[in-house]
């Protein structure tokens, strides 16, 4: 049996049903362990003080904000090439989750920046890029909502996602170019991986796992909803014609 069989709507509904609660449970567990560990049982950073605790939210959210878009891009490509309905619906289902991740990354980034920059919002290249990503998400969702016919909507949003990806990467470099003078040194930047000690690193890993699992669980659940909406539409269309 080919792997694509799992992407048939009926089969998808079948295998996600038992998987969904476990994914949610595991995501909740990882998040609880990681966040409690990080919040209560890690020391303050000698330079950043207690703000270092924001890392456990900021880094996973930022990662997922980007990964959600990449997942949407892959799903869009699969839809365009193989026309698997579930793929298009999964892309649609992931977008609002990506928005939430982007919002968390933006908000915690601003708060984290406050002690360092002396202001909540600075046009730091990294934060600015997330703001632009946020706008891309909004446009993508708005296009899905605006189009009546689901297949047309899937086609158009796929093209938008692909073109948008190119422009998102372009924007990333443009923003770096635009604000290169103000870029912070690595020790103070939001670039956490470079200078994180093990005490911070392990709970961070657990949190990242938690965010990934939560993302997967949410996308599965929302995709199931979208499939049901399509099925309802299909049934109603049949009834009207009968």
């Amino acid at each position: 049996m080919s792997l694509w069989e799992y992407a048939n709507p009926k089969r998808f509904m079948g295998w996600t049903r038992p998987v969904l609660p476990w994914t949610f449970a595991l995501a909740g567990l990882c998040l609880a362990v990681g966040l409690i560990w990080g919040f209560f049982f890690t020391p303050d950073d000698f330079r950043q003080g207690s703000t270092v605790k924001i890392i456990y939210l900021h880094v996973p959210a930022a990662l997922m904000a980007i990964n959600a878009w990449i997942m949407m891009l892959v799903a869009s490509l699969i839809w365009v090439v193989r026309r698997h309905h579930v793929s298009a619906l999964a892309a649609r289902a992931a977008a609002p989750v990506g928005v939430v991740m982007t919002l968390i990354a933006l908000f915690t980034g601003g708060i984290w920046g406050q002690p360092m920059w002396g202001t909540y919002w600075a046009w730091d290249p990294r934060l600015t890029s997330f703001l632009i990503l946020f706008l891309f998400y909004l446009g993508y969702i708005a296009l899905w909502e605006a189009i009546e016919d689901p297949d047309t909507a899937a086609d158009l949003t796929s093209v938008l996602c692909m073109v948008g990806s190119i422009f998102a990467i372009l924007s990333r470099y443009a923003v770096l170019f635009w604000n290169q003078g103000l870029h912070q040194g690595a020790s103070l930047s939001l670039d956490a991986e470079e200078n994180v000690a093990d005490v911070f690193w392990f709970p961070l890993l657990v949190c990242i796992a938690g965010f990934v699992l939560l993302f997967i669980a949410l996308v599965l659940m929302r995709t199931r909803t979208e499939i049901r909406v399509r099925r309802m539409r299909a049934l109603e269309a049949r009834m009207r014609r009968a």
Partner: protein, 218 residues
């Protein structure tokens, strides 16, 4: 294809508003800014590159939804799609017509408005150059956005939401070139990148636009 370009230009001239409206909007935005930020010449001259670029971007945005909407409504878009013209060519010509009716007049008018904002004298040549290189990209990206929203009843607002994020790189490099010119720095890098974006959009987006039009005409 030239016939399509000439027809669109003729329509823009006859229908009125084609050239004038965008320009008037550009003028009004630039005139309004000093009322908002205050009359200090120094401040205005410092922010002039950004204002001029943002204003021309908004002026170009204003007429985007007319690129395909009229042809879609009166059926000529479907007729064009079944004609021997490749839709990619149609997309390219539409973008070109939009640029000639908005981007080009904006570029020509920009120095006069730069004068109002007391733009640094060294920057004028780069203002002209960056707008000349950058506004075609605005038209091409906008044509893509217009194609995406062509079948929608209230596509105008959605169109802005889709197109504005795509405008970010063009705006950054364009305004940066003028700013560096004003600060007597070397703006070649920004201009080259701007040219790269314009070349890239014209190489890729006609195909994306044609694909989107085919989907919308189904």
């Amino acid at each position: 294809m030239i016939a399509l370009l000439l027809r669109d230009l003729r329509l823009a001239v006859r229908a009125g508003g084609g050239f004038g409206l965008g320009l008037a909007f550009f003028l009004i935005v630039v005139v309004l800014v000093p009322f908002g930020v205050g009359p200090e010449t120094e401040l205005l001259s410092r922010i002039a590159p950004g204002i001029l670029w943002v204003a021309s971007l908004l002026a170009a945005l204003l007429s985007l939804d007319r690129i395909f909407a009229l042809d879609y409504e009166d059926g000529s878009l479907a007729l064009l799609a079944t004609s021997p013209l490749p839709l990619e060519g149609v997309a390219l010509m539409k973008a070109l017509a939009h640029w000639i009716t908005t981007g080009l007049p904006l570029t020509i008018a920009a120095p006069a408005l730069g004068f109002l904002l007391s733009l640094a004298p060294e920057a004028y040549v780069f203002l002209l150059l960056s707008l000349l290189i950058g506004t075609p990209a605005l038209s091409m990206i906008g044509t893509f956005g217009a194609a995406l929203t062509v079948g929608l009843r209230r596509g105008g607002l959605l169109l802005s939401l889709l197109v504005l994020p795509l405008y970010v790189p063009t705006l950054i490099f364009g305004a940066e070139a003028v700013r560096r010119g004003a600060d007597a720095l070397d703006p070649t890098g920004a201009l080259l990148l701007l040219g790269g974006i314009t070349a890239g959009t014209f190489a890729l987006l006609p195909f994306a636009t044609a694909a989107v039009l085919r989907i919308n005409l189904r």
